[in-house]
Subunit: 192 residues, 2 copies
């Protein structure tokens, strides 16, 4: 138990060091030597956890994306039926999603600033396609716009609104941005 805790602590130190160095130098110029210096650990300790910096990057991206996956699975999009249920479900979904994004803003921004190297945006793009089946039923039944265009439009819009929120240094509250997203998505779903 004690060992396990120590292992978790060491892993966290490696991860914190990685974020700091990634922010300063970008991925290409970052080395394992940089990380072990900042984390104050031995080289062999690093390799007990990760084979190289790319695996470490992948691990951290997986963590960020898993958080979004959990939120998306939690809210049972498919089981909501009436417009009122859908509205309530979407609102709490957006609040959870935006709270998560805000809590992880520092790391998301570092990934985004070094996107030429980290390719985080493309990962998010492909990941968002996984969730199309959850939305398809909602969009088919309620929207006159072809479902895959509506879905692409919704995802692009949410991504842009979130980026604008980042750019404005979170000038609106989570609830205000959730209300904007919810409002617009409902226009897609219940048009005319």
């Amino acid at each position: 138990m004690k060992l396990n805790l120590k292992a978790k602590e060491t892993e966290a130190r490696i991860e914190d060091a990685f974020w700091q160095v990634l922010d300063e130098k970008g991925l290409e110029r970052l080395t394992v030597t940089d990380i072990i210096k900042v984390a104050n650990i031995n080289r062999s300790t690093f390799y007990n956890y990760f084979p190289d910096k790319y695996e470490l990057l992948g691990h951290l991206q997986d963590q960020l994306i898993d958080g979004i996956k959990q939120i998306t699975n939690e809210k049972a999009i498919v089981t909501s039926q009436s417009p009122e249920e859908i509205c309530t479900m979407l609102n709490s979904y957006f609040i959870n999603l935006l709270t998560y994004v805000k809590n992880n803003a520092k790391h998301i921004l570092i990934m985004y600033d070094h996107d030429q190297e980290t390719l985080f945006v493309s990962r998010i793009h492909y990941f968002s396609k996984e969730f199309f089946p959850y939305w398809a039923k909602l969009l088919h039944e309620n929207s006159e716009i072809k479902a895959q265009y509506a879905y692409a439009g919704i995802m692009g819009m949410i991504a842009s609104i979130v980026l604008e929120w980042f750019d404005s240094d979170f000038s609106l509250s989570v609830e205000e941005v959730a209300a904007i997203a919810n409002d617009v998505v409902q226009k897609f779903i219940f048009q005319r």
Copy 2:
């Protein structure tokens, strides 16, 4: 006059060669030697036109973006007043824009496929911010959503819908996609 024509022809050959080699090798691995081989010209001829491959890339990106600028300036977004005028203006704007995008799809896709190196998407993103003033009046007067969020949402949505159209290999006509874009943008502008 004849010389001028020949110069234009040589420039076009350099550009065609660049697109071909960029598509095959990406920007980093691409060399001036590759381009002059494919274009079948001397090295010194190349340098009469462009100092290096990055200037050539910038020139071609400028050309693509200038096309979009012209279409956006043409349609006097600010002068449209009534909902009917705005609707007609937007529809013809989207038809012009999508026709342009479709006509230049090959080059846009090459840029996009090598975006880690060409950074075309960020250029489009910053360029789109230039046009906010054109839309701001429309959005302030008509939208309850804060104008900069509405604008970010509209741009993100249009970009995603266009990408989906590319991915589906242009399965819908220009008019159909323009109708989707128009429909959604009007929901932003004339809500509730």
